[in-house]
Every structure is written in C-alpha cells, then in structure tokens.
C-alpha cells in the first residue's frame, strides 16, 4: 500500500513536471521542471529496488547534465519563446492527439500485462553485482561508451571553442 502511494505521489510529480516542461515558455522553468521529473524518477527507481541507479540518476542527470543545460541557458541568456499561430494549431490538434495516444497505449498495456506486478524491494541492485555485470559481461560496450564519451568531450571542446580567440577558458563539464 505504502508502495502504491509513493508510486502515485512521485508519478504525479513526474507527470506534472513533464507537462510543465511543455507549458512553460521560459527554458529555465522547463529545465527546473525536468530536474523535478528526474528527481522523482530517482525515487521511482528506489521503489523498484534500483538504489544504485537512483543515486547515479541524481548525480549524472540532475547533477551534471542538467547543470550543463542551466549553464548554457544562463550563458546564452535564452529569452522567452514567442508563440505563433502554428504552435496554437499544434496545441489544439496535437495535445488531444497525444492524450488519446497515451490513453490507447495505457489501455493496451493494462489489457496485456495486468497479472505481473512489482513489490517494494523485490530486487535490490547491489553495486557489487552491477559492477560484476558492467566490468565483466558488458565490458566491451562499457569500453566503447567510454570512447564515445572521450569523442564527445573532444567534439564539444572543438565545437564550442572560438576559433579566433586564444584564451578560451570556458569548459564544458
């Protein structure tokens, strides 16, 4: 019961944050809503027993990636988004469409997987076992992603560096 309540509360926060992301016109508000979504998602992970994933979600997503977003919003001083007719049309047509689609998907899922359920703490994700998987069974993908990250770092530095100025001190985290 407690599990269901917690799920519903944080699920509601998630949905609210996601919708707020869409509604808000200023990117910083959208970014903060997204942080809220990620935080409550971390709680959902905890409810699923994946505490390591939950903490990493907070550290990486909320603590690093979103900081980067906020940083860029601040740096570029991104203003309020202007509305045009097209976007109103999109809202009028798209939002009901999305709601309908979501309802349809939800209905299908409820129809076809009603029996299985997850209980609180059903499967803890101890860091040791995760490490065993990550550094043993999934070693190659792990190394590949590490190279991907390295490439991304270099790409970001090259892209963001001003070609003409010599003293570029800004870093992408």
């Amino acid at each position: 019961m407690l599990h269901l309540i917690l799920f519903l509360v944080f699920g509601a926060i998630c949905v609210a944050g996601a919708v707020n992301l869409l509604v808000q016109t200023h990117p910083i508000n959208s970014a903060l809503s997204l942080i809220a979504v990620m935080g409550s998602l971390a709680v959902e992970y905890l409810l699923l027993g994946a505490e390591f994933v939950a903490v990493v979600q907070v550290i990486i997503y909320a603590g690093a990636i979103m900081v980067l977003f906020v940083f860029v919003i601040m740096l570029l001083n991104a203003g309020i988004e202007e509305r045009t007719k097209g976007s109103r049309v999109a809202l009028l047509v798209g939002v009901p469409g999305v709601v309908l689609g979501s309802l349809l998907g939800a209905w299908v899922l409820l129809q076809h997987s009603g029996a299985s359920s997850v209980s609180l703490g059903a499967m803890p994700g101890p860091p040791k076992e995760i490490a065993q998987l990550l550094f043993h069974d999934f070693l190659l993908p792990f190394e590949v992603t590490s190279i991907l990250v390295l490439i991304a770092i270099m790409g970001a530095v090259v892209l963001a560096a001003r070609p003409e100025s010599v003293h570029v001190t800004k870093k992408e985290g």
Binding site: A18, L41, Q57, V72, V98, M123, G125, I130, D137, F138
Partner: protein, 100 residues
Amino acid sequence: MVPLSYYLILSGILFTCGVTGFLIKRNIITIFMSIELMLNGVNLSFVAFAAQWHTLSGQIFVFFVMVVAAAEAAVGLAIIIAVFRTSETLNVDHINLLKL
C-alpha cells in the same frame, strides 16, 4: 504491490511528453530537454523490466543510456552555442539553412 503496467504507463506518458515537446517547442534548448525526457521515460521502463525479470541487465542499460545522454548533452550544447554564435537566435524556425 504495484503492477508493472503502471510503471510502463508512466514511462509511456513521459516519453509522449518528450515527443510532444520535441514537436511543439521552438527553443532549441527546450527541444533538447525534451529528448532527455524521452530518454528518462525509456530508462524507467528498463528499470521496471529489470525488476520484473529479476535481472540486472536492464539497469546496466540505464547506465549506457545515461552515458550516451551525457555525451549527447555535451556535444549538443556545444552545437547550440556554436549555432547561437553565428545566428544569434535559439528559435529553430529561424535556423533553416537546410531549406531548399
């Protein structure tokens, strides 16, 4: 006891919100955040399935998604900065150099 489908529905809602945001938002940064939202929705279903099948592989995939998201954010934001530097705008409707 929470049915697995609840988690999947939540994941689906988040993903749909991300798609919607990607389609209706004009600010390139917000569009980018919508992508992150989609990835988060997918991550939730990974973790839910991992709990469902009692295997940790789902959680491992979440890590990979996170790493890719981080790499994507770094490169994407660098591109945004570069775009802003040349076109002085973040509105994707004004960035249409690919037009015929």
